[in-house]
């Protein structure tokens, strides 16, 4: 009898939960206690293989909003010395989890606009998620600010409401090949062959395509092209293929834990190329660099920010204090800082446009150059299609766990260690 009763209770509990959630509870936009608010949605991968990167991006937007909403005279960024914008408007964030899946990202973008009533969205880290999510915004004529997604295809769609802060994999590829040419010219490096290894996703495939294009244009021979499934548990065959082809240089596009696995597998197989340069994420993630310890040293990559850039970007230090409170002491990295910049630039544009008409704000974003002390170049300006034409990154090398600036030469703070030291000589 008791057993049957418990079954009945299970049914009642489930139905009750469904009624609360589906019928009466969630789904209507809650009335805001304070009227002068601008709701901004964020969509990041808060769960899944790149969850830690997504959570840091979310924390970066929260940091920017804290600076804009409150008076922070000690912080040298625009809008920090006042409370809110437009005579008292404050930002409220509504967060969503894309799980790194395009269909989930798209559904969340629709929910944020239609149910939560957000005015704009910032996101979505994964290029494959940013694409459909920003399409939702474009169809609704709402602004979509994209901090870190690097696929060049995102800004080749002639969209009017899409703005991307990070450099694209196209510009990064050209920069990487410039490094190889510079090493050949200055260090007599004799780099003739290139291998590419990349996760088989929108981000990786696009990055690899640009890497091959730039390398071939510079007369370098591609000797291996190795895609792998993201979230891999074993990269032995991929590294073995690399080892057999033995390219002088490797250009790599690996996110999060895949990057650690790649480095560790190369160590196991006692092989490393003369030089390896990585696109964003795995390489520039300070947590991963710390986990890898000395194994991470002498690898290179593009970096939009690291704490070692303090002399170039003095305004970051005070902002980073707030950010670290939210991340348990982890500093900004090149991806997360772009999301903070996205929020700060959007707020400046609303302030300058003098209102909340999305078309007017989008036009203002296009027509102006924005001060951005959290960006490497110090400025942000958008071309048609939404690419930040002032986006800069420098090529760094990890030495003793620190990101040392190597290229371009006028921004360098350290000499390059070339070639990569063999594993048994570290």
């Amino acid at each position: 009898m008791f057993y049957r009763f418990s079954r009945l209770m299970s049914l009642v509990a489930c139905m009750g939960l469904l009624c609360v959630l589906f019928g009466f509870g969630y789904g209507t936009t809650p009335a805001m206690a304070q009227e002068k608010v601008i709701k901004i949605g964020t969509i990041f991968p808060l769960t899944g293989p790149v969850a830690t990167a997504g959570q840091r991006c979310q924390a970066a937007v929260q940091t920017a909003v804290e600076i804009i909403n409150n008076k922070h005279p000690e912080i040298k960024t625009p809008l920090a010395d006042q409370e809110g914008i437009l005579d008292g408007y404050k930002f409220v964030l509504v967060h969503a989890d894309s799980q790194g899946k395009p269909d989930v990202g798209k559904a969340e973008a629709e929910r944020l606009f239609n149910q939560e009533g957000v005015w704009a969205i910032i996101g979505s880290y994964n290029s494959a998620v940013s694409k459909p999510a920003s399409l939702v915004a474009e169809r609704m004529k709402r602004i979509f600010m994209c901090g870190a997604s690097s696929s060049a295809a995102l800004t080749q769609r002639d969209m009017n409401f899409f703005f991307r802060l990070a450099p694209t994999d196209e510009t990064e590829s050209v920069e990487f090949v410039e490094v190889l040419k510079w090493l050949n010219a200055k260090k007599d490096a004799n780099i003739k062959t290139v291998g590419v290894i990349y996760e088989n996703s929108e981000f990786g495939k696009h990055a690899a395509g640009e890497a091959k294009k730039a390398s071939e244009a510079a007369g370098l021979k591609i000797v291996c092209d190795i895609p792998f499934s993201p979230g891999a548990t074993n990269l032995n065959s991929e590294v073995q293929t690399l080892k057999n082809a033995n390219p002088d240089a490797v250009l790599a596009a690996l996110l999060g834990a895949d990057y650690s696995l790649w480095i560790r597998t190369m160590k196991q197989m006692a092989w490393a190329p003369k030089i390896a340069i990585s696109y964003c994420s795995g390489y520039q993630d300070p947590v991963i660099a710390k986990q890898l310890g000395p194994d991470a040293d002498f690898f290179m990559g593009s970096t939009a920010y690291s704490p070692q850039f303090a002399s170039l970007m003095p305004a970051v230090a005070d902002v980073e204090k707030i950010f670290k409170e939210k991340t348990g002491g982890v500093p900004f990295d090149g991806d997360s800082i772009q999301e903070a910049v996205a929020m700060l630039v959007l707020a400046q544009a609303i302030q300058k446009a003098g209102g909340l008409d999305p078309e007017k704000v989008a036009e203002t974003l296009h027509n102006n150059t924005w001060d951005s002390p959290l960006s490497l170049g110090g400025k942000v300006a958008f071309a048609k299609g939404g690419q930040n034409v002032k986006a800069h990154s420098v090529v760094t090398q990890l030495q003793g766990g620190e990101y040392k600036r190597i290229f371009p030469e006028d921004m360098a703070d350290t000499q390059i260690v070339f070639p990569i030291k063999p594993w048994n000589q570290r």
């Binding site: 049957r4 418990s6 079954r7 009945l8 299970s10 049914l11 489930c14 939960l17 469904l18 959630l21 589906f22 969630y26 789904g27 209507t28 964020t42 808060l46 769960t47 969850a51 997504g54 959570q55 979310q58 509504v94 967060h95 969503a96 989890d97 799980q99 899946k101 395009p102 269909d103 989930v104 798209k106 559904a107 969340e108 629709e110 929910r111 239609n114 149910q115 494959a128 694409k131 459909p132 399409l135 474009e138 169809r139 295809a153 088989n200 996703s201 929108e202 990786g204 495939k205 696009h206 895609p227 499934s229």
Partner: protein, 338 residues
């Protein structure tokens, strides 16, 4: 005359209840609380879609007893059929949908024929491998977009392009039509000779064969039907999301949804997939909407706990719970009468 009496016989009171339910579903977009709330409509669309997908799986997995973990392959072929028609060839999606369904059925027969020689767990394991193979092939196959996938351009909305930008009502009615087609077909199969053959194969292949049922032919036809219906659902999925890439459609994750929803609702029953989707999809969508933004997967933890509770409390699925409740109520009534 005999045929007519059979028709009348198979049109039961249960069918009348179904028709009343469908009439209610037709009226749903006119209910103000749902019409004004696109998220609720989104959840309803997903319930109809996933119920239809799971019903497609139910043909082979539930009625025929062949547990396939490879249905995301057929779902993906349907998605790519519609996607390539629009993105690659600049056409309307309809021819792509038909081609996708036919291709899925053909692929299902080709890969199932050797797999059906395996039995029990070995068949399930083989279908697992097929998903991985197709996933890898589509990831590196440039003609279908490779890892970059296919992204829809913004084109004119309407039934012709099977695409709506401002409202979800069009998508809702298309999902409802797919639901009616697949559930109607399964209902028809239940009362048809072929339906009995499928159940006979499920209960015991050797026994069925001893009674003259060609079990291989039955399984292959069921698989082809099931795959074509899964492809139809896949084509709707891509039109709804306006993007397709291999991890979105041809993944073990997607295959598990086909199986999980049916088993949770009650495999081998007409109403099971609808019950399973009606519980799982709102849980998945609302838990993500409410707790997803907190980070750390709180929504997924709660979702997981609820599934475990369901499975532990009633392994027969929701249909089992309903049967228990009905039995309990009728016993109570009998006691009161006494």
């Amino acid at each position: 005359m005999v045929g007519r009496s059979v028709e009348l016989k198979t049109f039961s009171s249960r069918d009348i209840a179904w028709l009343a339910f469908l009439a209610l579903l037709v009226a749903v977009p006119f209910i103000p609380a749902i019409a004004a709330n696109s998220f609720r409509l989104h959840v309803l669309i997903l319930i109809l879609l996933f119920a239809s997908m799971s019903q497609a799986w139910n043909i082979i997995g539930g009625y025929c007893g062949q547990v396939s973990f490879g249905h995301s392959v057929f779902f993906g072929i349907g998605a790519y059929g519609a996607g390539m028609a629009v993105v690659t060839y600049g056409m309307v999606p309809w021819p792509g949908i038909v081609v996708g369904m036919i291709l899925a059925a053909v692929v299902a027969v080709i890969i199932s024929y050797p797999c059906f020689k395996l039995s029990g767990h070995y068949f399930a394991i083989a279908t697992f491998a097929i998903v991985e193979i197709f996933n890898r092939v589509f990831l590196v196959w440039d003609w279908v977009g490779g890892a970059l996938g296919l992204d829809y351009p913004i084109i004119k909305e309407g039934i012709g392009n099977l695409m709506w930008h401002q409202s979800k009502v069009g998508y809702y009615y298309i999902a409802l039509v797919i639901f009616v087609i697949i559930f109607g077909m399964v209902r028809w199969l239940e009362g048809h000779r072929f339906g009995y053959y499928m159940r006979a194969v499920r209960e015991g292949q050797e026994t069925a064969e001893s009674l003259g049922v060609n079990s291989t032919a039955v399984k292959l036809i069921a698989m082809a039907l099931s795959a074509a219906m899964a492809a139809l659902c896949g084509s709707f999925f891509v039109q709804y999301n306006l993007r397709v890439d291999p991890p979105m459609v041809m993944s073990l994750d997607m295959s598990m949804k086909f199986v999980l929803i049916t088993i949770l609702g009650g495999a081998g029953t007409l109403v099971g997939p609808l019950l399973g989707a009606s519980v799982l999809i709102p849980l998945q969508e609302y838990s993500r909407a409410i707790w997803g933004g907190l980070g750390g997967g709180v929504d997924l933890i709660i979702f997981g706990i609820l599934i475990i509770l369901m499975v532990v409390k009633q392994p027969d699925g929701l249909i089992g719970i309903i049967r228990d409740v009905r039995r309990w109520l009728s016993k109570k009534r009998t006691k009161e009468e006494l």
